[in-house]
Symmetry: C2
Amino acid sequence: MITAGIDVGSVSTKVVFLQEDEIYYLVRPTGWSPREAGLNTYQELLQQTGIGDSEVAYRVGTGYGRISLGFIDKAVTEIHCHARGANYLVSGGGLVIDIGGQDSKAILMNDQGKVLDFAMNDKCAAGTGRFLQVMAAALGVDVSQLAELAKDRQPLEINSMCTVFAESEVISLLAKGADKQDIIAGIHRSVARRVWGMASRFGPAKQILFTGGVAKNQDVRNRLAIEAGAPVVAPELGQLAGALGAALHARDVAKKDFV
Amino acid sequence: MITAGIDVGSVSTKVVFLQEDEIYYLVRPTGWSPREAGLNTYQELLQQTGIGDSEVAYRVGTGYGRISLGFIDKAVTEIHCHARGANYLVSGGGLVIDIGGQDSKAILMNDQGKVLDFAMNDKCAAGTGRFLQVMAAALGVDVSQLAELAKDRQPLEINSMCTVFAESEVISLLAKGADKQDIIAGIHRSVARRVWGMASRFGPAKQILFTGGVAKNQDVRNRLAIEAGAPVVAPELGQLAGALGAALHARDVAKKDFV
Ligand code: SF4
């Protein structure tokens, strides 16, 4: 049986096809239209895999753009899908910290991966991928270079949590001749502090899983571990957690229907 | 007797000399060094007025840069100075709403102008002059043009409170061909909403005084009155409220010393 999970985030759209333990996936920028991004990414993955739409037993949408998707069978909240997907990637429950392009969340699960509590920030750019984007632009580097540049550097103090005020601080540090790579380390620490400030009330947890686009940044991961005072595991396919959880949910529903 | 008030704000430095009912003043950008800005502006006003430093009986510093001033006799918190100055400009107490370059505050006074309670935001750029600056840059206009451009326009909806996310909304509205002037009206309403969200718990007040650099923007003033559902008075010298209050405080101290 094949099921689909479509996670339309503010920045990127993730589609997962699940067939037994086989995961097919595709990530594309969301762009201006969540509706089109969801549909196009879904269709592109059908083409890439050679799977026909009629072979997909059930489609679950999630993420902020889920409501605008016309072709799905059901929409499920991202917190639920996210926990489900993360617990599939690394079983045993614990705390999921997700930093996406424009939001961040912390989800506490029991040992079976059931959601016990959560906190979310989608109102303030600080502590999200957007913060990193603004800072990278101010420093004239690409977001993808940040982790490498900050590696083993001494983080400089950035006092403002606010993206706008922190950007001014960064520009002022540069003007004073501060080392760019130490500034980036400071930026990473700022993100880690902000997000851990939201997540810490759920700690100490059995294990900490780090997902979302920003989890690919190894230096943010290290800074988060320092803030948390505990190891942080970033599963390989962590960016897919939401879409994967949606596909798992879709499988549950489809199986019930087939009984 | 002549006394001086020096208000070193994050964006502009205001110095007031008070001689009986006569007010001499000077406003200069704070720039990188609050210490220098305070001293230089003070000395420039001495020169302009022909007053000698030894003729100044007492000097009170206020604003975020007050701690770095070496030449003052005393530092007083901006909330205290602000209320004092606002109540001197428009007597009778009430609620002072101040929007400065990088912060905003709401101060509730009794009928004699004594501070009863206050709220302050200096952590988030939204609802401060900085928000307007970022938006003006995104729109390619000068902050000083905003009020005129927004006059009598229909505010467009801006959903995000966050400066960073609102900036993206503004750029997206422009790309969709929305009217620039209606966008600016929407930006002004956003500032008014954010600040009234902080101040509303002190209302309804006997009167609402609007001070700080942003109070010079007539359209923000109108939008604030709409949000508050009450008239908003912006005294002519409202930007000087803090420095004026500091000079009044200095006069009290100096008079005591001379008894
Ligand atoms: S603190 Fe800064 S980044 Fe956060 S909401 Fe305010 S303006 Fe946006």
